[in-house]
Subunit: 318 residues, 2 copies
């Protein structure tokens, strides 16, 4: 029973959360019902997005920040978006090592999300995982994403507060910034700040920020060393400060609306696509149409028109 599963997740049973996360990620009927059942109990956790280029030390920062929160007695959920590939055995291994690190701590729950084959899009699935951890009762949910592609920007944009990590170690920090990620950053972290170039990078980032439009929230640039813990307390303070700002400025409401719209639109598109295919010859009809498009017998928009024509407005009864 899903309702049972929902109740168990809400009661804070780890095995129920683990099962629920898998069901949600796989888009099963059980996962969908679970998300519906617990939704009213979400919106309490502080969802923190942590992103940055490969090698910038995201995992280390996440782990150190988690230990800091645990020291304050707060519970933490970690959703690590793990680009999966037959070649990513290293990542899976690294993840197991991380799990062991927090294994004995019942106040931490870690889940890696595979980025491939996510039904309804990676950002939707990731956000749903964060919602489940929120319902489970974690005070802080950290969503850790690799890279700075469009998906990562989207994921970061759905978090309450977003940390973008840079480091003087990789040569192309400023270039990596181009992917629009700077616009979604609420806190900029210069990690590996013991390396040469950290001060220059910090100054560059501040200069870049001053070029952007003035916004009510002034994005802080914080130097840190994930391994030693330097700067992590300052990071936690900046995040708490940002959350207060969201609540007081009314931006929290705008954020909640954006999160809601994203979810509704995503689910709606998938549902409507499924309906349109079902009502026009099923998957076989779709395949025949795709074949005609591939052979240039019909253009994609006209083909889509044939499919969408099979669904129409419900006539007003009476």
């Amino acid at each position: 029973m899903t309702d049972d599963l929902a109740a168990r997740v809400l009661r804070g049973e780890r095995l129920a959360l683990a099962r629920g996360l898998t069901a949600a990620e796989n888009g099963t009927a059980e996962g969908k019902r679970l998300l519906q059942s617990v939704y009213a109990h979400t919106g309490k956790a502080h969802v923190v997005g942590i992103t940055g280029p490969a090698g910038s030390g995201k995992s280390t920062v996440t782990d150190t920040l988690t230990k800091f929160y645990r020291g304050e007695g707060r519970t933490v959920g970690i959703v690590a978006v793990d680009p999966s590939s037959p070649f990513s055995r290293g990542a899976v291994l690294g993840d197991r090592i991380r799990m062991q690190d927090h294994w004995s701590d019942s106040g931490v729950f870690i889940r890696s999300m595979a980025s491939r084959g996510a039904l309804g899009g990676l950002s939707a699935t990731t956000f749903e995982a964060a919602l489940l951890m929120d319902a489970f009762g974690q005070d802080i949910v950290i969503v850790e994403t690799v890279g700075a592609g469009q998906d990562e920007v989207e994921i970061a944009g759905l978090a309450d507060s977003t940390v973008v990590i840079n480091t003087p170690a990789t040569g192309d920090d400023i270039q990596a910034m181009k992917a629009g990620i700077l616009e979604v950053a609420d806190v900029l972290l210069v990690n590996k700040a013991d390396l040469p170039g950290a001060d220059t990078l910090t100054a560059q980032l501040k200069a870049l920020l001053s070029m952007g439009e003035a916004r009510p929230w002034k994005v802080p640039v914080i130097q840190a060393e994930g391994r030693t813990g330097r700067g992590i307390e300052e990071l936690a303070a900046a995040l708490a400060h940002h959350r207060d700002h969201l609540a007081q400025s009314g931006e929290m409401r705008a954020l909640r609306l954006r999160q809601a719209r994203h979810q509704v639109e995503n689910i709606l598109k998938e549902e409507l696509l499924r309906k349109a295919i079902a009502s026009s010859g099923g998957q076989a009809g779709m395949e025949a149409l795709v074949e005609r498009v591939a052979e240039r017998g019909i253009d994609p928009r006209s083909a889509a028109g044939e499919l969408s024509g099979s669904l129409q407005r419900v006539p007003v009864t009476g």
Copy 2:
């Protein structure tokens, strides 16, 4: 008149192509009609995706490869996906410099795509731009994307042949590989091969490839120096070889089906979403529903159900 515009694009008029690309990127009615009109004339160009991490020298490789093709008398279209941001003035400037380089050559057409706000998704818009350049008559269309996020993987997956660039210069080449990009690579290019570590990187990539599943196409690993032109002829040969392989193995058909399905599904989702919103209170009704979701009065899936319920199967007449 769009038909006029289509005819002018098909005749190879540069100004018509420029206008058509803008219309397509903005998703205007004119752009949609243009894509419909020229679609039957596409599928002739060799669409080559070039991707890799920031700083790997994608633009230089693209430019050098373009010069090589021009030397062979072949025409080239370049679609550069340019992550736009208020902070990316450098990119825009760099693009202007590149334009000047090929300005006097009527056999080259360059268009930068903004990655933000692309209606119907970045990969759809980028692919449509490639289709227009194909219809315009360019022999080769190079789609150049920054980074290795999920969108980039998707874009690369839609090209006929995909080149993934690595370099010994950035410390995290192998890590960047994790994003599933290795799976869509048809050619691996080790750029900046004059730098120390190039041979090690080449060996590592070959080892990684040997770990993957055996596939009919054996992915070559080519060392290159974009600036000097070393390896570029070999790259062009590998791409020609790959295209022959696609045709002979039957993989071309599978690719054309994948491209067709992607386009039909994308257009269909956007159309259906528009219809569902229109038939259930319009944008205002949608906003009211989103508000209820944000306030936890209803869960996202039930909200989507209310909207999708407003569209139903066309009743069978007779």
